[in-house]
């Protein structure tokens, strides 16, 4: 391989990193170099890509690239191990080559570059396949050395890695807080290393959730459907916890809890005992949530006989028989309230 291929490859790699840095997804990426002074070379690079068949040409993009002053050609050649350059020919300032990349992003192509110490001009043409369809792409670049710089890309990469680790830790903590089993259970789970801690937490909830307060706390952390999946993933019995909490709610007459929609079997039994046949307006307010829930279970979509059994006594039965008062009531009935 010609030694001329080294700066070419370095610049191409720099262009790739620089292009990534320009992407909006990496808008907060640490700076890759400082311009103005330093041991490395600052280049203005303009790149243009063309794909046959694309309805609109992509505009050329100019960026600054800091090319590290190479310690040695061997070090710079530690590029993508899946790519090989071959048939490298040099004539004067011009070098041509063929390259082949294997692996996930397999491609073939050829290119040429004309370079002096302070400028370059390159063209690469590649062929690849994406989603079963072949495509071709031509990339042309021009570059001009414009000054000095200090390459800080290694520090930037270290910062990015640390940031990614931090983001992952934060995401796992949030999934733990929300009890989402997808984060912890399964070979592809992103936080699989915390599986034990996750299931320990679920087991703790299974233990404390057998009281109304515990059940409220659990369903305050995550929706019931998420809890059910979490319990199933960690081998806990969600139904047993719910039934325990409902029974405790009935025993402590925590009707607001019993009426929350999770204890309808208990509502039917407790409602038969405490609500059936009662006047709504005469009912103690403390028991009203239970009776409202009970009403929703026994009224509607039912046979008329069931209605009667759940109806409170008609108000008219409680009216006095006093003829004067009856007359007043008769008049009142003509008037709105």
């Amino acid at each position: 391989m010609s030694s001329f291929a080294v700066p070419l490859r370095q610049i191409v790699l720099c262009i790739a990193v620089s292009s990534l840095a320009a992407g909006s997804a990496l808008a907060q990426m640490p700076k890759l170099f400082t311009a103005g002074s330093g041991p490395d070379e600052l280049w203005d690079v303009t790149m243009k890509m063309e794909m046959p068949g694309m309805p609109m040409a992509m505009p050329p993009r100019t960026s600054q690239v800091c090319k590290k002053k190479a310690a040695g050609n061997e070090a710079l050649m530690k590029g993508d191990p899946n790519c090989r350059m071959s048939n490298v020919r040099t004539a004067g300032n011009k070098t041509s080559f063929v390259f082949t990349c294997t692996g996930e992003h397999a491609m073939t192509g050829e290119g040429e570059i004309t370079a002096t110490g302070d400028t370059f001009d390159s063209r690469m043409h590649l062929k690849s396949t994406a989603k079963g369809q072949e495509f071709e792409m031509t990339q042309t670049s021009t570059g001009k050395r414009v000054g000095q710089c200090t390459d800080t890309s290694q520090q930037a990469i270290a910062e990015i890695k640390a940031q990614a680790e931090g983001n992952k830790a934060q995401a796992c903590a949030e999934m733990m807080a929300r009890l989402e089993p997808e984060g912890f259970i399964g070979a592809q789970a992103p936080c699989a290393t915390s599986r034990k801690a996750y299931c320990d937490k679920v087991a703790s909830i299974a233990s404390t959730g057998r009281t109304p307060a515990g059940y409220r706390a659990a369903t305050g952390q995550a929706p019931a459907q998420t809890l059910e999946r979490a319990f199933a993933a960690c081998g806990q019995d969600y139904a047993a916890m719910r039934q325990g909490a409902c029974a405790a709610g009935v025993a402590s007459r925590d009707w607001a809890f019993v009426a929350n929609g999770s204890c309808d079997d208990d509502v039917r039994v407790a409602g038969d005992a405490n609500c059936k046949g009662r006047s709504f307006t005469g009912m103690d307010r403390g028991i009203a949530p239970l009776c409202s829930r009970y009403a929703s279970l026994v009224r509607g979509q039912r046979a008329p006989a069931d209605v009667a059994s759940a109806q409170p006594a008609p108000a008219a039965a409680a009216q006095p028989a006093n003829p004067l008062e009856s007359g007043v009531n008769a008049v009142r009935k003509l008037l709105p309230f």
């Binding site: 307010r285 409202s292 009403a295 009224r299 109806q311 003509l334 709105p336």
Partner: protein
Amino acid sequence: MIARAGARMALIAALVATCGGAGDAAAQPLDDPFPGVARGYVVAVDGVARWGFAADTPLAPASLTKLMTALVVVEAKRAALERDDVTVSSRAAAAGGARLGLRAGEAMRAGDLLTAMLLRSANDACVALAEWTGGSEHAFVARMNARAAALGLADTHFVNACGFDAPGQQASARDLATLVHAFMAESTLAARARIESAVVRTRGGRSMRVANTNALLGRVPGVIGAKTGYTSRAGRCLAVVAERKGVRVVAVLLGAGDRWWDAAAMIERAFDAAR
């Protein structure tokens, strides 16, 4: 012969026009999971009618009328409600049915009259507010009908301000559900509708406690208002609003057999359905 054919054509045209006039909303049948609970009812979740029976049938609305009365008063007299006193006319003082017991010539802050009208359904307060706002009850009723038209309440018409039975005093359950949304959108009305009891005072110093006739308040979790009604023709009526976890349920029952239990059941079931 030609005249008869012309009359037949006119009749057919009238029938077509009438059928078309029933409207798209009326053409949509609603599920009725509570058969026989009321002459007409509707249950809406987040503004969409889910269940109902005879939801578009005009029926006597009794004091649910006062939802519109209150809306028109607030929209016309917003700035004056907590500032102006209203002097009770002899006509207002003579209003029957549920009442505060105001005397002709007595004055009360308009906001207090509004509270009494909404909580106790006081008809003397209602007439006083209508006269204060419209100049006369008759003129005020015209405003109510204009507001109903603006809301698109095609099956609603008022001939008095307070809901007394009268030919032409009518509203459908679906229209009233729409009206409830407009009513609750007025913060001063929504705030009053959820009060369980309040004390109102005349300028002369008489104070009266008024209890809210809406028995669902404080009993059914999430209930935040609206209004009850009863007349011999309308039967027991109720419009109620409940909110839980950002979901709003409105139930309107006209001519209900057992409005409290059935409304409680409807509200619970509606929230279940919205989960």
